[in-house]
Symmetry: C2
């Protein structure tokens, strides 16, 4: 029995997702560290959209990353402490805080891109495109299956 088969046989889906998730975040951080970059996968998940949108409210970041507003607050705290982003109060709606990249943040974004690509390749090694497609489809279904009632569009 191969190691994969053994794992598949013994472990529940929940345990497998749990382990795969931890392994991926761990590897990303390790790869970044090897290149002298100090950033976590979750921090990157927020940094990317900020770059793409030029300026994003924390609410928008939460919607894009599917993260709780509480998590966004604290991730932005960390990014701000690292001088990668700054919060700017929206001029019209004073409840909103727009997050924008500093020059250091922009620099880091480009530095991390190849790390991301390297990690992606390590993760996908020997897995067919077809299986990856099915994999992503199932993940999307799970996310939709488990959506909070209260968050569902009425």
């Amino acid at each position: 029995m191969t190691k994969e088969a053994s794992l598949k046989f013994h472990m529940s889906m929940g345990m497998l997702i749990n382990s795969a998730h931890r392994a991926m975040t761990k590897r990303f951080v390790q790869n970044a560290m090897k290149s002298g970059l100090d950033i976590s996968l979750d921090q990157w998940m927020v940094l990317g959209p900020i770059w793409q949108l030029e300026s994003a409210s924390q609410k928008e970041l939460g919607e894009i990353t599917l993260k709780d507003k509480t998590s966004i607050t604290r991730l932005v705290d960390i990014l701000e402490k690292k001088n990668l982003v700054v919060r700017v109060e929206d001029q019209i709606d004073h409840r909103i805080k727009r997050v924008i990249l500093t020059n250091a943040g922009k620099q880091l974004f480009f530095d991390v891109l190849p790390i991301m690509e390297k990690t992606r390749e390590e993760v996908r090694k020997d897995i067919s495109d077809q299986d990856i497609e099915t994999f992503k489809k199932v993940l999307s279904s799970i996310i939709v299956n488990l959506e909070d009632e209260k968050d569902k569009p009425s």
Copy 2:
């Protein structure tokens, strides 16, 4: 474009796993809470093997759940604080601590089984067995792809 398609289109694999993982742990805890049971998914992941093995060392628990020994220490701390398990020093090798269920732990184990099943059904809703198989296969491959060099059998 359906919500699934939209998710699949926009989100990277890492983000999808991240979100699915969080959604599953969240739903499990919510389902348990609705039934008046106070246990997290990770606590359950440890409790199950203890039941199966009757008595397990923390090292064994780590191997089974693919969790770090540090995580096991702390999960067992919590389970012990909740009076669900007790640590017993191994009579032969005094470094080893065997973890066994209390009566309350055994009771909880059986109470949680239907919660587990309910959550499992909610997660898998409208996903074919075939796709689940592929899904688990891919997860196992990812875990193997990302295994630490130092942990690999020589």
